[in-house]
Subunit: 250 residues, 6 copies
Amino acid sequence: MGSETPCSIHLLTPVVTEGLRTLDELDIFKSPGTQLTHSILRTGPPSIECEVDQALAVPGTIKQAIKAERNGASAVIIDCMGDPGLRPAREAVTIPVLGPAETSMHLAAMLGQKFCIVTVLESVRPMMMNNVRLYGVQEKLASIRVVDIPVLEIHQRGDEVQEALAGEALAAVEQDGADVIILGCTGFLGCADKIRKRLLVAKYDVPVIDPIPATFCMAEALVRSGLSHSKKAYPYFREKAFVGYEISRV
Amino acid sequence: MGSETPCSIHLLTPVVTEGLRTLDELDIFKSPGTQLTHSILRTGPPSIECEVDQALAVPGTIKQAIKAERNGASAVIIDCMGDPGLRPAREAVTIPVLGPAETSMHLAAMLGQKFCIVTVLESVRPMMMNNVRLYGVQEKLASIRVVDIPVLEIHQRGDEVQEALAGEALAAVEQDGADVIILGCTGFLGCADKIRKRLLVAKYDVPVIDPIPATFCMAEALVRSGLSHSKKAYPYFREKAFVGYEISRV
Amino acid sequence: MGSETPCSIHLLTPVVTEGLRTLDELDIFKSPGTQLTHSILRTGPPSIECEVDQALAVPGTIKQAIKAERNGASAVIIDCMGDPGLRPAREAVTIPVLGPAETSMHLAAMLGQKFCIVTVLESVRPMMMNNVRLYGVQEKLASIRVVDIPVLEIHQRGDEVQEALAGEALAAVEQDGADVIILGCTGFLGCADKIRKRLLVAKYDVPVIDPIPATFCMAEALVRSGLSHSKKAYPYFREKAFVGYEISRV
Amino acid sequence: MGSETPCSIHLLTPVVTEGLRTLDELDIFKSPGTQLTHSILRTGPPSIECEVDQALAVPGTIKQAIKAERNGASAVIIDCMGDPGLRPAREAVTIPVLGPAETSMHLAAMLGQKFCIVTVLESVRPMMMNNVRLYGVQEKLASIRVVDIPVLEIHQRGDEVQEALAGEALAAVEQDGADVIILGCTGFLGCADKIRKRLLVAKYDVPVIDPIPATFCMAEALVRSGLSHSKKAYPYFREKAFVGYEISRV
Amino acid sequence: MGSETPCSIHLLTPVVTEGLRTLDELDIFKSPGTQLTHSILRTGPPSIECEVDQALAVPGTIKQAIKAERNGASAVIIDCMGDPGLRPAREAVTIPVLGPAETSMHLAAMLGQKFCIVTVLESVRPMMMNNVRLYGVQEKLASIRVVDIPVLEIHQRGDEVQEALAGEALAAVEQDGADVIILGCTGFLGCADKIRKRLLVAKYDVPVIDPIPATFCMAEALVRSGLSHSKKAYPYFREKAFVGYEISRV
Amino acid sequence: MGSETPCSIHLLTPVVTEGLRTLDELDIFKSPGTQLTHSILRTGPPSIECEVDQALAVPGTIKQAIKAERNGASAVIIDCMGDPGLRPAREAVTIPVLGPAETSMHLAAMLGQKFCIVTVLESVRPMMMNNVRLYGVQEKLASIRVVDIPVLEIHQRGDEVQEALAGEALAAVEQDGADVIILGCTGFLGCADKIRKRLLVAKYDVPVIDPIPATFCMAEALVRSGLSHSKKAYPYFREKAFVGYEISRV
């Protein structure tokens, strides 16, 4: 705890696709002395766009979280706005495990009165809505909007993505009463500034939360203040003879 | 749809432990002509008592649900009060997929004003509470109580289980204002009658929902009335190159 | 309880108008061996379209429910989407009393995330909304929509009704985010299939709940699983010298 | 509207038992110039202690409300904490119709943060809870408590009633966090002062709402400010051939 | 308590601007014998249109409330729809302190199912929404709408104000499902009748609550029924050495 | 934004009492390079224990927040668990303004399922509960508990305070179902560790949030991620002729 503590954040991208995430993008958010490590899954889906994708990401996520803790991580961030495996991973480790959706929604609740999540596809909406319910922030939700672009096409359709995000963000502010925007996919990393500028042009000075940098800073905050999830809410799982999964804390 | 329809219910026990479930127990609830099939998982946990157990049950559950549909099942019941895999399994099949927790909670909401769930262990409480939130029935929840007996010890400690369940049910009625009791583990199958009698001795005429028979009857009801889950809420998952999981609808 | 139990469902149409309901329409939903009986009221309103109509239907409904139980019914279904007399009738009998509104709303909550009720007239909306509140399913309500056609004109304006229902259902899905449709009047019996087909043409695969068949199947499910309403929530009424009403359990 | 308006409040006691209510008790609350009239039912229950009693009070209540308006009443108060017939009576008249439960709950919500309703019998609790839901004040409810004394025994067991009410009120403040007390039966008229004094002895300075005087003053307030219920929420009922009930606005 | 009680209502306009409020406008609402006194602030804002304005009105409001009680007032009404100082003023006096926003919202909840507040400026919306949350009436809120006219321009732009209010009220009824309208600024005093007439022309018979007259009548009702705020919810503040504020109860 | 940004956090203690707060206590939480400045009020209360105290702290808080921003602060923390002036201060500045109550409640909501706030006096409970409502985290609140010790006696009664806090925290976990504890007064700074140890002795591994360090780390997180409150939710106040207050942004 405190300023002397060496802080090492592990970013866990819960898909099997290499190259989606590079750490350079996050460098500017680090405080001096904080380290950043990264992993992807060995088993799981290539991208997460529905409940099935999400379910298949969870066993690998638990495994990687245990490994990250063993390797000295101070905190783990699950790099997906569905927060796959957030709760079971917390049963598996002592260090804080953060989901960008949970973190962004609570941040948004602090920065305004009503937030909008702008995400990728219609198929993601029910999961997102369920997380809103689980996190207890329904009263602060203005709307969920989608740009209708699959996760794996975000990079190659960059300009179109930004355009669509800005359009939906503007509609959320003007039609749904939103006063905070959350980017609803971690693949949108880096888009916040342009959207915010577009909103400013329309005279709307509303924060646009880029989930991964925001969660990264929150992870540092938790580590520095010596806080982690409650072990009464997330007790350690009991070691059992799991068939087909090598998952153990010992 | 209707009385002519042959109805075949598949009971999917989402653990790898053999012998936990025998179908004889369910025979008395069948309407004439309904068939009952059963499977357990090839990969997964031996029992489900926390989020990690539950997470490891989901991939196998999705797989078995697809298989059950292919084999002609009219509906699938997930045989665990955590409803593991309920949402992703619905993305994978057309036939109704029922969770005993979701079904029992809505039934309880219809039969009284406040229900209590009496379940196995403290570690299950957060999952149960999260499902209450997801299913939107918080207003009808009186309390969640636990008997502190692990799932795999239920059978050998039968009398003790019944005693503990009756004690907690009575306390729920007298102290928490519950007017309906839900047995909070599918391993409690067959205990409802004795608990109900114990409550009647204390002059409390409250229903005790045994989740698997109740869900079984509800599955028949859905099949007969031609209803299944919304494909807008649970669209089919997109076929992808999942690594480590052979899951496909085609 | 169980498959041997002879099951006899009593459909109680809570109006004085003869000929509105014929049992043939329900035959296809029966499981083999289930019997269906029917009654209308001797005193009450000709149709139910507001709180006054509904209030005048309740005394007769209580009376008929008692009579149905005496005549051996296993369950009573109140044949109106206002669920008139649901709670007092439960105080008067031991067998399950089901309201199609309560049943359909809980079914809808299980099949999707947000349901729309499409009903007859604006004057019905407040009653419907009040029932949503009483049943505790507000979080699952997308909207209530009306076709603006009085109950007693439904039959003669059949095509227009179907057209209007389909139009409102489509609007509910596209504008209100509904993923399940509930027909909001028991007079719409038989319209579900056509509406569902119209929605499918527009690529929306959402369930359309026809309340009476669905409630009928649910009544069978309750009878077979041996469940009825809580007598703690609905204690037997005390015999009193009611003036103007011959209502007694003895 | 305003100070010149002659104001005539009609107190409608929705039971057939004579002598339960005398107007003298209300005289001290009248403002100069306000008149008070009274009626009981010709058909209905002798007292209201459950849903069946309440249902049988409603047709007579609608009738009397119409009659009161015809006779020049400025407002109608339904003299029962179940508010029987509140909504249908509003469909039948233009003048304000007030329920003491609805009025007291909203007053309580203004005077503190959490109110307790102390009422007669357990059988009344579900109705009371349902009204809390309908009126939208769940967040302000601390608890519902009962003294277990039937309505028709209140007068002869006066001291016992006061003792029991004071005891439950004290428990509500100390154990349930209540900071306002609502007397949960209009038969408790006149008990508020003694209970309030008992609470003051225990150093709790909390308001005790006596529903009928409070509702009487509120009725005057509505009349003087020219407000009545919304005709969009409570449209006039359509004249129909009701069988067994002579109810008509014309 | 009762009709003999001399009643003196103090209207506390929480701004420093003279001439905004004249008592003549309220005369028609008084019951015979009720007196009306008035004060404005010595320190504070010229008008209240945001949180800063509101915050600067509170110390003066507390002071004036104490003074009004010392001068014999029976009740205090804070003359601003932000209800500035409502809670601290209640800690400072024994007599009822009423806020027009709190009073109007609870009245509206009694008169219909969904209310709309039509107020002055966008900058007021968040405060208004926060009060809806504090008063626990979220479930009854249809919408908050604004006419975009500053408080101090209301008088000189009278016709435009009425036009805008009527337009927004109509839109609230037709688009947001509102069945009661609340004028969202005490500066709109006297506008209710014209708006109500405009709505009636469009066949919408919905109440339009003019907050100050309505609160005035409610204050009389509280005084006559002997009720004031709970001292458990609003205990007397402890005398302290406040720097810069001369506030004391003694 | 990012790691290069010099970060300067201003701690604004909203009382006039000198010496209550020393910055040394916060040094261990700082990340390298972050500066910490501090101020108290010139006008206001000596301590904050009720709504009146809180109201008198707000004008000074707004003023100091503006001054802090002018002096180059990157963020302002209001050093009181009532969050006095949080919303108006946000209208007055561009930099993030954080309240320890709002921050701690959202952090608690992320770390567990149900939190308890242990605070100083009963008189603080209603304000605390109102903030729970405003922040939209009611669903995550287990309970509010008090140790009954005035703010200005915390330091001299140190051991007693710790004992009382630990006792209430334990009761919250065992009786109220809390799994996270929030210290409900910023005067409790430094007590978290001992309470956490006491809970661990009783085998409860639950986080204890010390609001000021936690809010300090969160302020750094906001600054580093370039986020501040929404100007749509908190628009700049308009310059006006405030009487008695010299408050201006220009």
